[in-house]
């Protein structure tokens, strides 16, 4: 096989695993933005989702160690999964309560959510590290991570093909599935139609008898839970179950950028997030010789590409590609 093919074989799987947290984050944010809520708290919510799953996993792990029992695969997956959903749901509810019920400014609330969520993540992360008495500044949930990390059983038998398509943990496939479902819901179902109308023109939706508040709550909370899963994927699969503070980095913001890049379409989000994943690690694969500085310029790529897309969509002015018209604005019926 030629070296370029080898390179692709090494590069693509890494781009996919890098892109998966972004895919979760951006699909969650797309659903949220479709309801007219610009949730800048997504980075915080992803942290909160991640740490919730770690907490769940950590205590299950402790329990197994203390009782000397055998880890049940189902519980090892379910406990972190459900705690992640619960944690990110709480964050979503908090955001909705402030912006929808109390009509607070979405930007300010979102930024505060991010500060808060990252704080929660690092604080509990730090506390757990202390609790585990580890020398390293991280928690390792390697046992649990095994179940998240396990590739599809037939991947090995298929050579490079298996390597490329079946070598990932189940959450990668779940992410793609969620994106497709989200895309289907938005395009094909009545709930999706109503949700889009709420984000575009809440007054019209209201007049048609659609509960603007309920849709905003549901979309934002479900979106938060999906985004939270991205945080969990990062820790329990990508990072092999080891949590260290701030390791997740700025991926949450990248997920928000991805929403623009995917022009608010979850389906388009799938290739886009893998592309972003690739861009994110591109610098490691570009031969720069001794000039390390250039790598930093390559790291700019996802953001620059996003900006270009943002400008192009506003220049082309094609209505389907614009942000939801009422994005970022609170809705108050009597203000009409």
């Amino acid at each position: 096989m030629n070296p370029f093919f080898d390179f692709l074989l090494a590069f693509i799987p890494r781009a996919v695993v890098q892109g998966t947290p972004l895919l979760y984050g951006s699909v969650g944010e797309i659903l949220t933005e479709k309801s007219g809520n610009l949730n800048l708290g997504i980075p915080g919510i992803m942290y909160a989702g991640a740490i919730s799953s770690v907490i769940g996993g950590f205590f299950y792990n402790q329990h197994i160690v203390e009782t000397g029992g055998v880890m049940s695969p189902a519980l090892a997956v379910l406990i972190p999964f459900l705690s992640c959903l619960a944690g990110s749901l709480l964050m979503g509810l908090l955001y909705c309560f402030l912006t929808v019920t109390l009509r607070a400014n979405q930007n300010v609330t979102g930024l505060a959510m991010t500060t808060f969520g990252v704080g929660i993540g690092n604080f509990f992360g730090g506390s757990l590290i202390k609790l585990s008495g580890s020398d390293l500044p991280s928690i390792s949930l390697a046992e649990i991570s095994k179940y998240f990390h396990a590739p599809l059983p037939f991947a090995k038998d298929l050579g490079w093909f298996g390597e490329l398509f079946f070598s990932y943990g189940f959450m990668v496939y779940l992410a793609i599935f969620v994106a497709i479902v989200a895309s289907w819901v938005l395009k094909r179902t009545r709930a999706g139609l109503h949700l889009r109308s709420v984000g575009e023109n809440p007054a019209t939706a209201d007049a048609a008898g659609i509960s603007v508040t309920r849709y905003k709550y549901f979309a934002t909370c479900i979106g938060s839970m999906i985004a939270g899963l991205g945080g969990m994927y990062y820790v329990l699969d990508y990072a092999s179950g080891s949590w260290s503070n701030n390791a997740f980095g700025d991926r949450g913001w990248l997920a928000i950028a991805l929403v623009i890049f995917a022009i608010w379409r979850p389906g388009l989000g799938i290739p886009a997030s893998f592309l972003f994943g690739g861009l994110y690690i591109l610098h490691m694969y570009i031969p720069t010789g001794t000039n390390l500085a250039v790598k930093e310029i390559y790291k700019m790529a996802p953001y620059v590409v996003t900006l270009v897309v943002l400008i192009l969509t506003s220049l082309r002015n094609k209505r389907e590609n614009q942000p939801p018209e009422h994005l970022g604005l609170p809705y108050f019926r009597e203000e009409r």
């Binding site: 402030l98 109390l102 009509r103 930007n107 300010v108 930024l111 505060a112 808060f116 500085a293 994005l327």
Partner: protein
Amino acid sequence: MSKHQPLLHITQRGAIKWYKALLIRVLAFAAALAVCGLLCAMVTWEGGSATAGMTLPERFVAFLRDLCNAIGRIAQVVFNASFKSDRVVWKTMHSTAILLLLSLAVTPAFRMRFWNIGAEGQALMGCLASATCMILLRGSGMPDWLTILVIFLASILAGMIWAVIPAVFKATTRTNETLFTLMMNYIATQLVAFFCVVWENPKGSGQIGVINQSGEFKHFGWLPSISEIFPGVAPSFKGNNYLLNIVIVAVVCVILFFYLSRSKHGFELSVVGRSENTARYLGVKVRWITIRTMMLSGALCGLAGMLLTAGNDHTLNPTLVGGRGFTAVMVSWLAGFNPFVMVFMSFLLSFLSNGASDLATNFGLNASYSDILTGIIIFFIIGSEFFIRYRVHTRSSAESGQEVV
């Protein structure tokens, strides 16, 4: 007929008396502190003093005593964190000043309803410009005053450019400014990261370290301290890097207050923010005002960058602004875009974050604890705005006389 009326009916308030608004805010803040206090007491709890032989009321009293002790301990730590020594007080004042300057910077844009959340990147560009001048101009034989002037202009220009790009796109193609400025932050971060490697010192560290710390170009391009500028007047502030920055920010704060509330520009930009139609009717050039205001916003961010790099830290790294650009957005909004209230808000947030980080070290927690507390306090204050702007009616007699059958 009751089904025709929702359980709670919300209407927009007209005027609210200033003391009522203040009362609501103070209550919200008190509630936030109470929650934070309890949270702190919980995590720093050192066990109850209740013993087995106590009756229930006695246990309760003991518990209350423990709680008060715990909160007292916490309060002491938090207070000391910002006031325990002269140096700490200066540091607190300085971090307040930097946060304040960034908050002031985003305010003109916000008054125009332009959601600039790119202060982080704009300030970072200011840092980059300062560092660039400090590194490239050394050895040029430039006199100090000229160097400082060049650094000043370069930083301001860099911040301005970073702010004007989104403004131009907003004004011409109505590109969403929130998302645009957000992306600009990360491009700035990477740009700084790039130059950090280019100018790394020592080689291979990937960091810049303190620029012009010693040797031939010792302190080249560093802002002087007050005692160097006025040797006769302020000898006691020798070596105090903070005071000059604080003075500059204070001056900017006063000027900006008058700019926003008393100048023609300030008036124009708030008209544009409140009613674009009326602005056009009066012949105000909306696009130009958008760009001009963002130029100001960016220039102030650039200035903040200069104060950080040339004034205090004398270094450059991608986390130099450290999220303060985002915190500034919250400060500005919480202060109702009033520069003087911002002084208080930025002090409050600096004070809390100092306190929380000391709490964390004293009680073996971690530093992120302060983010949680900041979050909680902001949530309460944001939430309280609702009760200032809206009035909640409960379902009551309002329905009588509407029966039609």
